[in-house]
């Protein structure tokens, strides 16, 4: 059983990906043992009509049987009437969470709407995901250069919202070590392994942050799904550690929010 917390549907704006069609993505997820995938849409990066993006995302996730794909909607707090989008994600589409893309949406974390969005999402019991990076800045298209999200303010923002459960995507190798530790100490911030690097990287990671903070994430289909799966093999991990990373920690986030 694997819960993959970092999956996207639709098209990456600058390249076709081998698994960017729904049947191929589902086939690959299942072949690698993924039983749940927290799924957002690449359309949410650049489309202004995020209402349409979220509606299509929810519909596509419903097409796939057994609840394999769980939709995480896009909310952009710089758009007019963004609170309605949050409401729809929760009440209309019954999404378990939302995925934020501050760098593609052109705001920094001191934007007043961001703090409010965290408050409102937490009040609704939604998991909040925040993608720190989508693409290596060294190789971006010259007309679409998007810096990593500056997470300097994030520890204080998390502390200010006691009910918040925050999952950082594509953050490892990018967050400085002291910030990683500060966020981990809150007990309400989680990190997935898609961008984790280094030989036996997971074994090293769990010496720096509590095991309970570590989730399985692949960033598929932009990244090759097998990368995350093989990282589980590369580190010498106990069965209990593997269970925690592959599904127990992610399942616990949802449980905590429901309580």
């Amino acid at each position: 059983m694997i819960i993959d917390v970092n999956v996207y549907l639709s098209r990456w704006p600058l390249r076709r990906l081998p698994c960017d069609e729904l049947p191929k993505l589902v086939e690959r997820l299942q072949a690698c043992g993924v039983t749940r995938a927290w799924t957002a849409s690449f359309d949410g990066l650049l489309h202004k009509d995020v209402g349409g993006v979220n509606e299509r995302l929810a519909a596509e996730c419903r097409q796939v049987p057994a609840g394999l794909l769980q939709p995480f909607g896009t909310v952009n707090p710089t758009l007019p009437d963004w609170r309605e989008e949050l409401r729809r994600c929760h009440e209309v589409h019954r999404m378990p969470g939302i995925r934020l893309q501050p760098n593609y949406h052109g705001y920094t974390l001191d934007h007043p709407g961001f703090a409010e969005l965290l408050q409102l999402a937490a009040a609704r019991g939604l998991i909040v995901q925040l993608a720190v990076r989508m693409e290596d800045p060294r190789m971006q298209h010259p007309l679409l250069r998007v810096p990593d999200v500056d997470t300097t303010l994030l520890p204080d923002l998390v502390t200010a919202v006691p009910d918040l459960q925050l999952v950082l995507l594509n953050a490892l190798q990018i967050l400085p070590g002291d910030r990683l530790s500060a966020l981990a100490r809150t007990g309400r911030v989680y990190f997935e392994i898609a961008t984790l690097e280094g030989v036996a990287g997971i074994a090293s990671l769990v010496t720096r942050v509590p095991l309970e903070c570590v989730l399985f994430g692949s960033y598929s289909p932009f990244f090759i799904l097998e990368s995350a799966v093989l990282k589980l093999r590369e580190s010498e991990l106990s069965p209990a550690q593997l269970d925690a990373i592959t599904f127990e920690n992610a399942r616990r986030i949802g449980t905590q929010l429901r309580q």
């Binding site: 043992g33 190789m139 280094g198 799966v229 093989l230 589980l232 593997l242």
Partner: protein, 300 residues
């Protein structure tokens, strides 16, 4: 243990090829089996059916003896069913090292590979700005020593004519030249080569075998840059495990011009192996990329 000679290493590679490891039928060397989740044993992630040689790796510490570093790396390699690794450059990394520093770092690598029971292959690190010293070091480590290739990094862009004597000597010694390549929209180092630079050097030296490490970094342009230069092979390590890199390389270059490397220990074996085992290409192409092409290159 006795000194490992280049001849013995290359003989080993040839024997491996002759024994059918190119087809993946040879028994794996004794490995410490991983405690892995069921998913890691699914066909999509089954490494054990492949022979794997890793073409790109580094030592990682100035404080730990090279033999200890190698032992640690090989334990992780065992978990990923990697049979042999290529290692080059010592520690700390220096962009533009003086000849004495180059020699010191190559000594570190020599110590590491001599402790590896034949599982680590060394490429000699050179700074081509010091051409004569580079030729001397090449003789010391490859002609008269156990190393089997050449590593060039970022001291000078490799289209410079000062590299030609090194390329000529490399061909005489049947030693491939692995050149770091990266094209960065954020800006390259002054001496950092791009794939186009390797193509230019390779076109002037058609008898020499070149490896464009990292496939140019920005692989969609890097692969195109070397496409018309048949003595350049793309090596896919060092970047994120972005889907499609190996599919494009095989489509544009052919599977025989693509090799696997990881850039350990900065990169994970897993993320880089996934580029190959997770690619939508024929199984035989995967076997060539994971070991066959490098074995063939070194057995010449």
């Amino acid at each position: 243990m006795g000194k490992i000679t280049r001849r013995a290493l290359l003989s080993g590679a040839a024997q491996a090829a002759a024994a059918g490891t190119l087809l993946g039928h040879a028994p794996a060397r004794a490995t410490a089996r991983a405690v892995a989740p069921a998913a890691a044993g699914t066909p999509a992630c089954d490494l054990d059916r492949y022979v794997i040689w890793d073409a790109h790796g580094h030592l990682y510490s100035a404080d730990t003896p090279p033999a200890e570093q190698m032992a640690s790396l090989l334990r992780a390699a065992d978990r990923m069913h990697i049979e042999r690794v290529v290692v080059f450059m010592g520690y700390p990394w220096v962009y533009d090292p003086e000849p004495d520093e180059v020699r010191r770092q190559n000594d570190q690598v020599l110590e590491a590979i001599e402790s590896s029971d034949g599982r680590a292959l060394g490429f000699v690190y050179l700074n081509p700005k010091h051409t004569q010293e580079s030729l001397d070091e090449l003789d010391r480590c490859v002609r008269d020593g156990p190393m089997v290739g050449i590593k060039l990094w970022v001291s000078i862009r490799c289209h410079d004519p000062c590299l030609d004597p090194i390329a000529v000597r490399a061909a005489e010694l049947n030693a491939p030249i692995l050149q770091h390549t990266w094209s960065k929209i954020t800006g390259n180092l002054p001496g950092e080569s791009m794939a186009e630079d390797v193509a230019a050097l390779a076109a002037r030296n058609p008898a020499t075998t070149f490896i464009a490490a990292h496939a140019g970094g920005d692989w969609e342009t890097g692969i195109r840059a070397i496409r018309g230069t048949p003595n350049v092979t793309a090596e896919i390590c060092g970047g994120d495990p972005t889907a499609g890199i190996v599919e494009m390389a095989v489509r544009e270059l052919g599977a025989q011009r693509v090799i696997y490397g990881s850039d350990f220990r900065g990169r994970s074996f897993a993320s880089q192996l996934a580029k190959v085992v997770g690619a939508d290409i024929p199984e035989e192409s995967k076997r060539l990329i994971l070991a066959g092409n490098l074995q063939r290159m070194l057995a010449r």
